[in-house]
Amino acid sequence: MLEALEKFSRQANDNRDVRRVVGAWTVDLVLAESDGADRWVLEVRDGRIARVQSADTIDASSRQLEVTGTRAVLESLFSGTLNPVRAATRGDLEIFGDMSDQTRLDAVALILWGP
């Protein structure tokens, strides 16, 4: 999983369109496994993914966008083989956070992998 997330981070950070669209986005993108206990955090600071790490504790005071799904679903999501909107409609993915943060995450997927 970490491997897929690191690859996603490189793709997003290297993409000019992504950086232009997300602007000075600062959020902790929390990914939680629904079929296990693992969690990961992508620290997005000023429009760049600054750090990817496996997380035991989450800093609840920071602005968060939480994405929950099975490990397979999360891996597919961050490798570009799963459309996040379709997955949320099917109930495979649960997304919690401000509407602007949800849209930013979807915009990144849209730019990297197309509609």
């Binding site: 669209v21 459309n83 379709r86 109930g91 997304i95 956070g97 509407m99 602007s100 849209t103």
Partner: protein
């Protein structure tokens, strides 16, 4: 009240309060006594609470999605869900256009028609512009306008309540009861739109705590806005005349009095709150359907830096602008309430059927149980079925039938392009049979 609860309550309240609600309330007095109408508003509020709670429970099962699209897909499968979501969008757009036309009618009572249409255009354009700015500006607009419109509706009712009753209403001699039964389905329309609060819930705690509270407050706010008016209307306006008025709130105020100008301000605010929520919500629905591949990819374009689906916003606005002048034709104008009633009842009925189906799922994903009694859902469905039957049997004109047919063909054309997929309910049956 917590900020998030207040925000959601104002979204639901603002969507429900509309200019047409005054005529809806007025029409009840044709068959019911003032006391029956006042009681009906309370009963309808409870029924709407059941419907809205069903939406809340099901939306909580699919956070991050367009609630109606997701839970009807789980209950009925891909095609039915697509068709219902499109129907919901069509209905919301139609309601927005109808409200804009009513606002034009209000202005026309005050100003020359050119100036009236210019004012409505400016108001709609401003709301579109604010929605294109991002997500915060429409939320702030909603907060200010909804609080103002509820307060103004209370003020509007005060002189009417203080007014000496004009004459005993003609139905007052009848036995109490049948009028209440007739008034409840009509009064239900005063609360339509409260469920839109569900589309603004985005955080985990919101779904579980603030959204149910917000919906409760929204029902209370709408009831509190129309209960005083249900007392004031028949004290000032004769019941039979009241039932035929398109803009009874203007008639209540008396021409060119300070309260009359207040009634005009109420109309502007009601249009603003309804169109503001409807525009943002339907644009996000169109965006989501386009992201799923059901609608053209062009609708997936987001504006930078606001990240608003601006094309979807402009498309909805363009359709509303195009429809509003059509309502100038009396035949079309008179058929709109029937058309909207049919669409609304179909959507609400199928949403409640979804609730009945999803609650039976063994591996149900339900995160939230608000303790809605099944009998209350069945009762709400019965009331909706009565309204639907009445609209189809008694009020279906040739024009309405043609519009419904066109709507059906257009929606079918879009949805039949989608692959058939099984619903969650069918999946469970398959698993059980193995």
């Amino acid at each position: 009240m917590a900020n998030e609860t207040r925000r959601l309550a104002l979204v639901g309240t603002g969507m429900a309060i509309s200019i047409s609600n005054n005529a809806v309330l007025g029409s009840s007095f044709a068959h019911s006594s003032p006391l029956e109408v006042t009681l009906a508003v309370g009963v309808a509020g409870l029924l709407m609470l059941v419907i809205a709670f069903a939406f809340v429970e099901m939306s909580a099962m699919f956070p991050g999605s367009v609630g109606l699209r997701a839970f009807t897909r789980a209950a009925f499968g891909e095609r039915w869900s697509s068709a219902l979501t499109l129907l919901y969008i069509v209905m919301a757009v139609g309601m927005g256009a109808f409200e804009a036309h009513l606002c034009y009618a209000v202005f026309r009572a005050w100003l020359p028609s050119t100036l009236a249409s210019l004012l409505v255009t400016v108001i709609l354009a401003l709301i579109v512009w604010i929605n294109a700015l991002g997500y915060e500006a429409p939320a702030k607009l909603q907060t200010v306008c909804t609080i103002a419109v509820v307060g103004m509706l209370w003020l509007l009712a005060v002189p009417g309540i203080a007014h000496a009753p004009i004459a005993p209403p003609p139905v007052s001699e009848r036995t109490f009861g049948p009028g209440l039964l007739l008034a409840v389905p009509t009064a239900l329309f005063l609360f339509v739109g409260i469920e839109w609060a569900c589309y603004s819930a985005t955080k985990r705690s919101t779904f579980l705590v603030e959204l149910p509270r917000g919906v409760r407050w929204a029902v209370l706010a709408v009831a509190s806005a129309y209960l005083p008016l249900s007392i004031a209307f028949p004290r000032v306006i004769e019941a039979r005349r009241l039932a035929t008025l398109e803009l009874p709130h203007l008639a209540l105020a008396g021409e060119r009095t300070p309260i009359w100008y207040l009634a005009i301000a109420i109309s502007v605010l009601a249009l603003t709150t309804t169109f503001n929520v409807g525009l943002g919500g339907t644009a996000r629905m169109l965006y989501a359907l386009a992201r799923e591949g059901m609608l053209p990819k062009a609708l997936t374009r987001l504006s930078v830096p606001a990240l608003v689906p601006r094309r979807a916003v402009f498309l909805i606005a363009a359709i509303v602008f195009a429809i509003v002048p059509v309502f100038e034709r009396p035949a079309i104008f008179q058929s709109v309430p029937t058309l909207l009633s049919i669409n609304l009842c179909v959507v609400y009925l199928l949403a409640l059927v979804s609730w009945l189906k999803l609650r039976k799922l063994e591996h149900r994903r339900q995160k939230l149980n608000l303790g809605i009694p099944v009998w209350s859902v069945v009762l709400a469905m019965l009331v909706l079925a009565v309204v639907l039957t009445d609209a189809v049997v008694s009020r279906l004109s040739a024009g309405v039938a043609w519009v419904l047919a066109a709507e059906f063909v257009a929606i079918a054309a879009v949805t039949l392009r989608n692959p058939v997929s099984a619903s969650l309910v069918e999946h469970q049956r398959l698993e059980e049979s193995r």
